[in-house]
């Protein structure tokens, strides 16, 4: 790797963020290209760490010295007695995530050169974008919980700032609660921040509890590697009955950040930000931070729980992760089937796919519980992370191109764009097929590996005698397959309505006014093409990926071969997948592609489907529930506290205090008669008092 690569791959974007306002003073072009350059340089540093993972040891390229073997830590100890340090960890998971963040970040920065061209607030945009990339890489490459939490908070802050980026817009707002669109955007940013905050608090409690436990047992640390090796902290937590709550709270952070149920309500509103922001933060990177955290702690938990004979905790944790993941995937897919806006469909799709990743990691944990091996699920989850990042970014960037060209968000106002934007059409089509899991695109391989992992879990569970877990495995597999069907449904719906349907009135109106719809500029469609290419060949990278991720895992027989691909195709789950694709694809084809059945008429005819449709459209009423019960209730509570406590007690106390002092001083004023004789008396008496004190005191 290049020297100091782990430090610089997050340091350079942060420095770039800080320098952006300075560059802005010179020239606009300098600022734009400078910001993009910083992120590209950071990515190069990140890339330089990849060969070291394959080699198994870290080699400095400039001095040709071997610095250490994987996992390689480089740290600066701050307070050694408290175990607080700042450090980076070079390890397959962190390098992989850093490259995803850095690579997609750089690509999207290049795209943003075209998309955000001419915006007056670009300095703020570049600052937060670079700061975000730096924060995300810091998050994934940290070697201890505390620093990771710092990165966690940085990405939360940048996400808030970037969602509410256009807070000055003056157009009327899409919902009636706010006056202008600017206010609505600001509200979306705040909603995202506060909802993820709930998860962050849970995560912080968990981190601090683990730290306190390590403090009590005499070796305070936040470090991942050290937590993995020492086991006394687990024993102490179990002795106090705190183990299960702690690890469930630890999962609370990912629930918030990765928009899982029940904290998933912020992601659709977060689409109010610019599309590049949505692509980077809410499709490719920040929402993956939760998945990263679960993937990071899962091996730690496996090792320490095995060492202390507490594998029940591992089972509970994995069960929670898997169930929440599966339920979220199902929930979001149903919502995505009926959404009207392009970006909202993609947002629901993101929530759903991250549910898949959590499901995979949970399955890995459960497999570890029954059979002692988590490699399958772990690998499936992280592979799906990579392929999803690529195709989701592709989809968002294409959506951005479409939004840029047509200036509307509603899908039903588009149509017939196939002839105007051919390159975008092809790229988005590839992305949608990859999302749905159609062979031979990368989405197919990653989804298949998840199903495969679930199948293996079920088999191993029955083999080792855990019948309930086996049944759970089958149920999870079933939910995942149904969700795959729905995924294909809404993907086809998306593509068809935008590109295949005839032109809507809105488009015709625009054409009459002379605003033609043109293809995106090269600076925008070149990243699309790159991402589409990776989506196509991504599946073939699976063997290399397995070698990469599972390097150093002693129990797995790892070698680069195409056996993995063959195994994936020939497992029994392939039939389920094909069945699901048929279940989802055929109705979608009839409704949307060939337009044999009109969806509106269908809804009117069948009341049951209409009710279901309205239920899904209102987001299962979860959002309304939160707003009315939690937010509304809290506001009522604060008003009541204000009225009955603040005004009645505290204000009255203040007034009473002031009244006492004032009346006392009014009374005492009467002694100030201004009369010299009287002053004399007082002076003499004072002297006598002093005399007495001096003589006898």
């Amino acid at each position: 790797m290049l020297p100091l690569a782990p430090w610089l791959c997050w340091g350079i974007p942060v420095i770039g963020a800080i320098l952006t306002p300075l560059l802005a003073k010179i020239n606009h072009k300098v600022r734009d290209y400078g910001a993009v350059l910083f992120s590209i340089v950071g990515f190069i540093f990140g890339l330089s760490m990849v060969p070291d993972i394959f080699a198994g040891q870290v080699v400095d390229w400039f001095t040709d010295k071997v610095l250490g073997s994987i996992p390689y830590e480089s740290k600066v100890v701050w307070i050694s007695k408290l175990g607080i340090e700042m450090g980076v960890l070079v390890d397959p998971l962190s390098v992989f995530m850093a490259n995803i963040a850095g690579g997609l970040g750089a690509l999207i920065m290049v795209y943003a050169l075209g998309y955000m061209h001419g915006d007056p607030d670009l300095t703020r945009y570049w600052f937060f974008k670079n700061f975000f990339i730096g924060g995300m890489v810091l998050l994934v490459i940290s070697n201890n919980f505390l620093q990771m939490f710092i990165g966690w908070e940085i990405v939360g802050l940048c996400s808030y700032a970037l969602i509410g980026f256009w807070h000055k817009k003056k157009e009327p707002s899409p919902v009636p609660d706010y006056k202008t669109e600017g206010e609505y955007n600001a509200m979306c940013g705040m909603k995202a921040f506060i909802t993820t905050r709930v998860g962050d608090v849970a995560l912080l409690i968990a981190i601090l509890t683990i730290y306190a436990s390590t403090l009590r047992t005499g070796n305070p640390t936040f470090n991942f590697l050290e937590l993995r090796e020492q086991v006394e902290w687990v024993r102490l937590l179990v002795a106090n009955g705190l183990l299960i709550p702690t690890i469930i709270l630890l999962f609370g952070g990912p629930v918030g950040k990765s928009a899982q149920f029940p904290l998933h309500v912020w992601l659709p509103e977060a689409m109010a930000g610019p599309t590049t922001v949505s692509a980077l933060i809410h499709a490719a990177t920040m929402v993956k931070a939760g998945v990263y955290l679960v993937a990071r702690v899962l091996p730690i938990f496996v090792e320490v729980f095995e060492a202390t004979n507490l594998t029940n905790a591992l089972c509970t944790f994995s069960l929670v992760v898997a169930c929440i993941g599966a339920f979220t995937a199902f929930l979001a897919a149903t919502m995505g089937m009926v959404a009207r806006e392009v970006k909202k469909v993609l947002a629901y799709s993101t929530i759903s796919q991250i549910g898949y990743m959590m499901l995979a990691l949970g399955i890995g944990g459960l497999t570890g519980y029954v059979a002692g091996e988590i490699a399958e699920g772990y690998y499936a989850g992280t592979f799906h992370l990579m392929s999803h990042a690529v195709f989701k970014a592709l989809l968002f960037l294409s959506a951005g191109a479409i939004l840029h060209a047509t200036e509307t968000k509603d899908m039903f106002e588009m149509g017939g764009l196939k002839q105007y934007m051919p390159i975008t059409y092809k790229c988005m089509f590839i992305g949608a097929l990859s999302l749905a899991g159609i062979p031979p695109f990368s989405g197919f391989w990653s989804k298949e590996s998840i199903f495969d992992a679930a199948w293996v879990l079920a088999e191993e569970a029955y083999q080792h005698g855990y019948a309930i877990i086996g049944a759970t495995g089958y149920i999870l597999l079933f939910i995942a397959v149904i969700t795959a069907a729905m995924t294909l449904f809404y993907s086809i719906r998306l593509i068809a309505i935008i590109f295949i349907w005839p032109e809507s009135e809105y488009i015709k109106e625009r054409k009459r006014r002379g605003e033609h719809i043109h293809e995106a500029p090269p600076v925008m469609w070149v990243p699309l093409a790159v991402l589409a290419a990776v989506s196509v060949i991504g599946g073939l990278l699976a063997p290399a990926f397995q070698v990469f991720m599972l390097k150093g895992w002693e129990r797995v027989d790892v070698h680069a071969s195409f056996e993995i691909l063959v195994k994936t195709v020939t497992s029994p789950t392939i039939f389920m997948t094909l069945g699901a694709l048929a279940l989802g694809g055929i109705p979608a084809y009839y409704f949307y592609w060939s337009r044999k059945i009109d969806p509106e008429e269908f809804l009117e005819k069948h009341g049951f489907f209409r009710a279901v449709h309205s239920f899904f459209y209102n987001r299962w009423y979860i959002n309304d529930f939160y707003m009315k019960v939690i937010v509304g209730g809290f506001i009522k509570l604060s008003n009541a506290v204000y009225k009955f406590f603040e005004q009645a007690i505290i204000d009255r106390f203040n007034y009473a205090l002031a009244w006492v002092v004032r009346s006392f001083s009014q009374a005492f004023r009467k002694t100030h008669t201004g009369d010299l004789n009287y002053n004399m008396i007082a002076a003499m008496l004072g002297i006598i008092a002093i005399l007495l004190l001096l003589l006898f005191g």
């Binding site: 100030h672 201004g674 004789n677 004399m680 008396i681």
Partner: protein, 102 residues
């Protein structure tokens, strides 16, 4: 020679006469007379206490001499201020000079 107590008592009575004058009289000149009586009482006290059967205390005498000088200076200053005040207020009644009271 009579005992020390007589002189101490005399000093005390003189002191209280001076205080009484300050506390009661309305005329500014009378008040300055009261101050002077106070000072004299203090001097008498010093001298009386410095005359013991064991010997004379020169330090107390010295202090008294200095204090007499200082006291004269104080009275001179007070009288000049009285003059100025009289020019301004046209009266010497202390109770009418209340401009500094809030």
């Amino acid at each position: 020679m009579i005992g020390l107590n007589w002189y101490l008592a005399a000093s005390a009575i003189l002191y209280s006469i001076g205080l009484y004058c300050l506390a009661t009289k309305r005329n500014l000149i009378k008040m300055i007379i009261g101050v002077e009586i106070l000072l004299n009482a203090a001097h008498l006290n010093f001298i009386a206490l410095s005359t013991t059967t064991a010997g004379l205390d020169p330090l107390a005498r010295t202090y008294v001499i200095v204090s007499i000088g200082v006291g004269a200076g104080v009275i001179a200053l007070a009288l000049s201020l009285t003059l100025l005040v009289y020019r301004h207020y046209r009266t010497l009644d202390v109770r009418k000079m209340r401009r500094l009271k809030w």
